[in-house]
Symmetry: C2
């Protein structure tokens, strides 16, 4: 199995509210393939989808008994501590919930967390040990 | 905020068991940056990290009250229905839990789901409307 990821689908409770969050706060544009039942955003070599959580559970055939912590995080890395501070200020000014303020962390980076409407966590970070190429991709 | 994802971190209950799952069943190789506390895999332009779920919750400063459905899925798309069948057979032979057998689905594709040890869902699919480039990346 090739080490590839094609799509991350977030199971959301309110598709309109979540779409507005990613469009207005993150400034991302939904793809034309989006419709009233599902919304797609193009990321680096993959797509992010927003889909009602009960429908996602039903699609996989599992119980939709989701409660509490989602047990994962998505990270958006920047190129300096200053870029982290700047983005967090911008998001805060848009009303985004800042879960953890930017701070130096034990692994040597500079990290913060924001939350989307369902509590999905986005870490906004600078990691000096994880260089990004000119497109912002991680290459090992 | 650029439409980019750097890292997906799965909060797992047993780091050794989860690492074994991704190495033995998916055939992925952990990166040298991995250690006994966290494991990294290089994916397409981003990395997948495995990290103890309680530590992930603590890192973000949220309660680790995770129960039930994780409310998201990760998709690994292939280039034909036959490739989906072949991979699912291989994973099943390795003892991977097949949550949903490959089948034609309402959106016009061919889809199945497998589960990792924590119930994180990987959709193994063919989507004729989402072409992959030569590296397996999605380009819109």
């Amino acid at each position: 199995m090739e080490p590839r990821l094609t799509l991350i689908t977030l199971g959301v409770t309110n598709l309109a509210a979540s779409t507005q969050f990613y469009e207005q706060n993150f400034g991302w544009r939904r793809l034309p393939a989006s419709n009233e039942g599902i919304v797609f955003f193009q990321l680096n070599g993959m797509q992010l989808a927003l889909f009602p959580d009960r429908e996602l559970a039903a699609d996989a055939g599992v119980a939709a008994d989701n409660r509490g912590f989602k047990s994962f995080s998505l990270a958006h890395n920047l190129r300096s501590e200053q870029e982290v501070d700047k983005l967090i200020r911008e998001l805060e000014n848009k009303g985004v919930t800042i879960v953890k303020r930017p701070q130096k962390v034990f692994w040597g980076g500079y990290s913060s967390y924001v939350s989307d409407p369902d509590g999905f966590l986005w870490e906004i970070a600078f990691n000096p040990f994880l260089p990004l190429d000119e497109k912002g991709n991680v290459v090992s």
